[in-house]
Symmetry: C2
């Protein structure tokens, strides 16, 4: 039931917004009483926190699986990370929408419990960029922290426009971004 | 007074959120009556629309000034566009915050009146990428539309993390992104 409450809340928060959704709405949608809701969650905010936590933990797990893949170069790992984030929009679209859009409704206390995981997500990518610089794959004259924020911008922003049902697949979009980032836009002399 | 109502609304929407701000709050902050508010605006939504419209028009004007600068190469114009967007966070921080965060509170009708300007903003950047390909400055094997969305991701996302008071200036951050985008992350052989 806990999982069903979360799934239903994601649907309603995505459709109506967090503020505009009541616990009664969630209970009605599930055909249960508010008592059932309160058996699993203290408040609507706690559901939002759980949605957030499970989403960011899922992203971090994906990253760490990629980081551990010793057979891949740093550049290949970068492709995999970009691909996984864009592919996720297809698989986890509504969850991602609620994650990005409703973040500001988390209380300060709740936000504090999420921030370390978000920092870890950023640091995993930054570690990869730094490892690539050390390995001589990436240039060392661009600061890894700003490069990381640039890459996160590309992938995070794609939540606002990427249509999984559109003409380009997650693989194609990831490959375009990877090529732009690694090889650059400049036309190379032959 | 119209401009003061907009400025005050930006402050309140940024601080409390659009939904959580009442017309009474705006009037109180300005020491005027609600009647004064209604003399200039039909509703709170209309203020939000005006904030949106003026912000996107400002961005498009900046772009078009850059596009008309015939003495610049396409790559130089790209740098200028990235710089201007990041510099704007310093100058127009709260307006940008309200623009991004409260967009979903625009009614469908209001949104429709904004969409052409947002499309124009995107198309101006895409036109520049296409002109760069045509001029032989940028490679032609990456689709200009997806490249454009990637660049917009980098600049738009910077609203969520760039601290104008932080250790790096708008110029530095813009130069890092420009170098990453144009030359790529890959270490080049000597």
């Amino acid at each position: 039931m806990k999982e069903r409450i979360m799934e239903t809340s994601i649907l309603l928060f995505a459709k109506k917004g967090f503020k505009e959704t009541s616990i009664q709405d969630i209970a009605d949608e599930l055909n249960v009483t508010k008592g059932t809701f309160y058996y699993y969650f203290k408040s609507k905010e706690e559901v939002l926190l759980d949605i957030h936590r499970s989403y960011i933990e899922h992203l971090v797990e994906n990253q760490e699986t990629i980081l551990r893949a010793d057979e891949l170069s740093c550049a290949e790992k970068l492709y995999e990370m970009i691909f996984k984030l864009i592919y996720d929009i297809k698989k986890e679209g509504l969850r991602a929408k609620v994650f990005f859009r409703e973040m500001r409704h988390l209380s300060d206390n709740h936000l504090l419990s999420i921030v370390p995981k978000r920092d870890q997500f950023k640091m995993n990518l930054q570690d990869l960029i730094e490892a690539g610089i050390k390995a001589g794959e990436f240039r060392g004259d661009l600061p890894a922290d700003i490069v990381t924020l640039g890459i996160l911008g590309i992938t995070n922003w794609s939540y606002f426009w990427f249509q999984p049902s559109g003409e380009r697949s997650s693989q194609e979009v990831a490959a375009i971004f990877y090529n732009m980032l690694v090889d650059g836009l400049q036309l190379k002399g032959e």
